[in-house]
Symmetry: D2
Subunit: 369 residues, 4 copies
């Protein structure tokens, strides 16, 4: 039987292929389909990579990933060529020793066993290809997507709305998010809630445990009429993109799960005129109807499961002896991964939006200069 088709490409026009294992030589990405003539520098990418980097606070792991990006192709004289852009980040300062045990004792909640069953031969060091480090390529690609979007007045905003049982209970304005999100280690835009989140996260961490949460991402300024009906509905591809992030286990669009208990008369956003322009009074639909953007803000919310890496003892099976056993992981792990998911979720949303804008002919190269 053939084990094939590990699938590492995302997008139809703006096509992103990531590569690399966590503790192997390098991680990186090739992006095909970027229009020619857009100014682009390594600094544009580095800024976003620095946001996803661990070791930024006591809430994230202390491995010092020096994610120094190098652009290898597709850019000349500071502008994109319309040819594939390959970007590389070397893996340095890695310590693979702690991972020797998981070769034979798969970690519960991790992909260790599933990879082994699928591939047979696995790079177990640091989680290999299943590690969070794979998202370096996503975030680098997302940085380009965001730049393209910004030139068309589309903005992507992400923030943590729940962590360790502490939730933001009110609707936050875009301004509040822009202003506050980078001011606290939880990337929660309500600074008071952020403080309580942090405490709850640290409490669990002190107990050798991790915590889950929720992240919201929005795309503002998306023109009406993008998205392909039927199978490639804008919301379907957003769900695909966000669910493809490790640890994400639920995706909601607009009012999401709350729709289950609504009536039609509450759920339908009334169509109104505002300054002579068509819009909807409310935005329960999250900016998408029939898979097509309505011109309102696109809003998605994801549930992030607790980091599976915990220091509490856990039950597993020793694959050599084929007997049940216990493992106790050593090292420092992210006690809550939501703040690091924020830039990744933003990147994935940006990739979907930019790809659909390209598909619909809504990217104007004249705006890129």
């Amino acid at each position: 039987m053939v084990r094939v088709m590990s699938e590492n490409t995302f997008g139809k026009i703006f096509r992103v292929t990531t590569f690399g294992e966590s503790h192997n030589v390098a991680v990186g990405v090739v992006i095909d389909g970027v229009p020619a003539g857009m100014p682009l520098s390594e600094a544009d990418i580095q800024r976003e990579l620095d946001r996803r980097r661990p070791g930024q606070s006591i809430l994230t792991t202390t491995r010092r990933e020096r994610d120094k990006v190098e652009i290898l192709s597709g850019v000349f004289q500071g502008k994109t060529l319309g040819t594939p852009i390959c970007m590389l980040v070397r893996n340095v300062d890695v310590d693979s020793a702690p991972y020797e045990t998981i070769k034979t004792k798969p970690r519960p909640g991790h992909a260790d066993l599933a990879y082994l069953l699928k591939f047979g031969h696995v790079d177990y060091r640091g989680g290999g290809r299943a590690a969070a480090r794979e998202t370096v390529g996503r975030v680098a690609a997302g940085a380009i997507a965001k730049k393209l979007l910004a030139a068309h007045d589309v903005e992507i905003l992400g923030h943590t709305v729940e962590a360790a049982g502490i939730a933001v209970e009110r609707e936050l304005s875009p301004d509040e998010i822009r202003k506050n999100v980078e001011k606290n280690p939880m990337r929660c835009a309500d600074l008071k809630v952020a403080e309580r989140m942090k405490e709850a996260v640290l409490e669990a961490a002190a107990d050798g445990d991790s915590t889950g949460g929720m992240v919201e991402v929005r795309a503002l300024g998306v023109p009406a009429g993008i998205g392909d009906p039927v199978f490639d509905k804008l919301d379907a591809e957003i769900a695909h993109a966000l669910m493809s992030i490790g640890s994400v286990k639920a995706v909601q669009i607009g009012a999401g799960c709350e729709f289950a208990r609504m009536r039609g008369s509450e759920a339908n956003d009334p169509i109104v005129l505002q300054g002579g322009k068509l819009t909807t009074e409310t935005n329960k639909a999250g900016g998408i109807l029939g898979g097509i953007s309505t011109g309102m803000a696109i809003v998605a919310k994801i549930t992030v499961k607790p980091t599976p890496s915990i220091t509490k003892p856990q039950r597993t099976v020793d694959l050599v002896q084929m007997e049940e056993t216990e493992i106790k992981l050593k090292g420092r792990f992210d006690p809550n991964i939501c703040p690091r998911i924020v830039p990744v979720a933003e990147a994935m949303l940006a990739l979907v939006i930019v790809d659909h804008m390209l598909r619909s002919g809504k990217i104007n190269p004249d705006r890129l200069k």
Copy 2:
């Protein structure tokens, strides 16, 4: 600017392309990538189509769609040829008159306005391509997928777990679902809850309103090791598939949204031996880790928004006069769409599973005969 790329194909090996507008000549589907030599008849398809047909009870619309399927290609002497299978259902007995008004007064919560903004020229009759009728092709394709899966001891089960605020509060066994789901118009496998759901749905309907709910789908017997890591994780493609169904606004895998409030020590399913075989003690992961199947049941849950068609008056805009107005839809509409979503969600899950089994080389033609 070019308005292109309406995307009507799903799958990579088992590729499903649907076509047709609700009140146009016909709806149908072409499936490419079905292995040769599998017995297949129109009866295999008709059985599933009859499950999605409206007019089955007082809870669904009374339009009598005579969904008589015709297989046009890809089958010879009762067996598949490995060539594309085209299946057709003619649209008969349609009454397009009530849709004249929506040409200029888009219905809130519907795709009317979004389609108009995207395509410019739209078949407004009966919802056109955005109508539930498009799912005829999905269900027909799903019938073939299910047959392929059944030959490999994989079973797909769907049922309504919440409607109009009434929820099933306990875990149902596969046997209960198999036995009860077709016994009540809500397709709820807990017959007592089903009765209360029905009452709540009818109460809202009497008020000219519709209700939302939740549907769960499971895939039993899926072998471990299918699913592609990174962008085409099994759960990412399931989310894509399910979110591509009209009215679905949230997708959860396994414990889904509940993960937000769990700790790692609760969220991780312990790996154990059962009769000498590797398994997990619990299945909070919903059968998928790192995007790859673990061998446990695959479980997904979707939120279905209330049918946007209601008879209560609603605010919209008259596009000719460009002024705000009210519409009051006439006719009989599904007061709750969950029971009709069940076979569609089953079909979409079947399509994802069969495609991934083909990608992983887990379909054995010898079992198809």
Copy 3:
């Protein structure tokens, strides 16, 4: 082992999927990606289908295919919707009796044996899926592509340039082709040569034999700058498209094979100004450099092998007895297939050009009305 991925879709934006076996219920095509708002009627399609139909003259088979096309979807009020267009032609008036023998005695030069080895279960009647009849769907799709192109002043011209050893020795002007090609059964635009071709073809036919030839196709008016460098060069995709037609065994672009004996100084087309506009003095490149259109006429030439169906006795193997034997096919076959290949080759070239124009944003919906 899984026998999968019979691949029946062509194109990236303008995506064409054909289906159907020669003597099964119907043949047809689904086209996704046609822009919305273009006038389209069954008559537009029928015209091209009538050109590929057999039984037009003594030079083609006498089976009276009544290729009456029906548009099932994607068109409303005489204009395209931007949704998939499904078109159907029922198979009527078929006589499958003569094909009983080939079930066990594969015809040399035909796909009979290869299909059997690949699929196991085969519709042997009338060549099944490998029959020329599959091109009905291609030509129907090509008719739409041609209409799109015509609205952008791009014209596709095809003609027979060699048959049965008789070749057109001079360069023909577009006007000559337009005027003469439909005036003779060989679709040769030089009427004198056409007469000699016809005689040579009939002479071989009288001998129970078939003959090969060459067909040239041109695309006039293609804008400069379409085509994707590297793997999807315009000429690479043209080669793919044309070689995918049954019986085609060679594809040349521009001067083609003659380049082998040229020097660089002869092969390079000098770049000159003509009325202030950039052009090349000659067009040996056939309108394509580096995989990208230059603005000159795109010119391709294909070699068509003699129809494998001949009435002369031929050696084959009886698959039941597994012993060598002889077959003598009965019936009337095309003694030369070039004239019927002309509309198919035109269709395939049109599909490539329109797809690349869509990819490059060179289709303007305003011109479609």
Copy 4:
């Protein structure tokens, strides 16, 4: 208008994406879909890269490309992981000075002008993305494909069969090709003809001119039944792959162009038994019927146009002044590119065969160890 979709990926399961401009930072390739568990080292790749490297003899350019490959991902402990393999070759020792002139004076026969019209912003140095150097990635990917094929007893052979008007007139045996092809700078397997080729090439070179030729590639041992009928016929994809190589202007399969003058009774390969096994007596079909492999050797022949870079003066247009002018290129260019095309054509054929074997489930991972 959007300039998008430069397309740099080849293959459906074994997917190859090349990146890099000739004088930019690096060239390279990412290959997705390589089965896990196959031994692979940089030496496996380097061997093939060394064959395509220029500066190997007086017949190729003297630029000393130090094509030192580095594997960045997808390989661990000397074996493939089933994850994407990224391979990199840095561009060193480049002299971009001579290319300053072509910024404004496009070279006839080159892609300079077409790229400018398509992309607007172009890396003109050393031909940028259109340079032969792009094939580094193809050859590196081909090396992996060849290794996979060799494990299944499939062998790829390439050799120059015509150059500068001197042609090999007889059929060469595989053994002759294996033995002789690397023994002479023309990569012609008939050593006497090779000598004459070389003289003819040098004669033209002395005149400041270049010459064209033909290269044949064969795949031996390909199992019957691979290839997808209709649009992705094996020969259609081979034509696509080979025509995507810069300078290739014609592709023939089997008897190719000669079929034009054959009769059916000559063209059809009789089906016979050989040692109880089905085969054909001759192989005019070049191992492919109906787009599917027959089990015979697959044979393709390509026409290579003369290298457009010549030192003779040529007519072009000065794009700044917009007036006709002359250019005289300086430097040393390949006087005949056939010998360097040989490994590239082998690589492309290997990519098509391995992809189709994977699609048909004919790759057995147990044979890879």
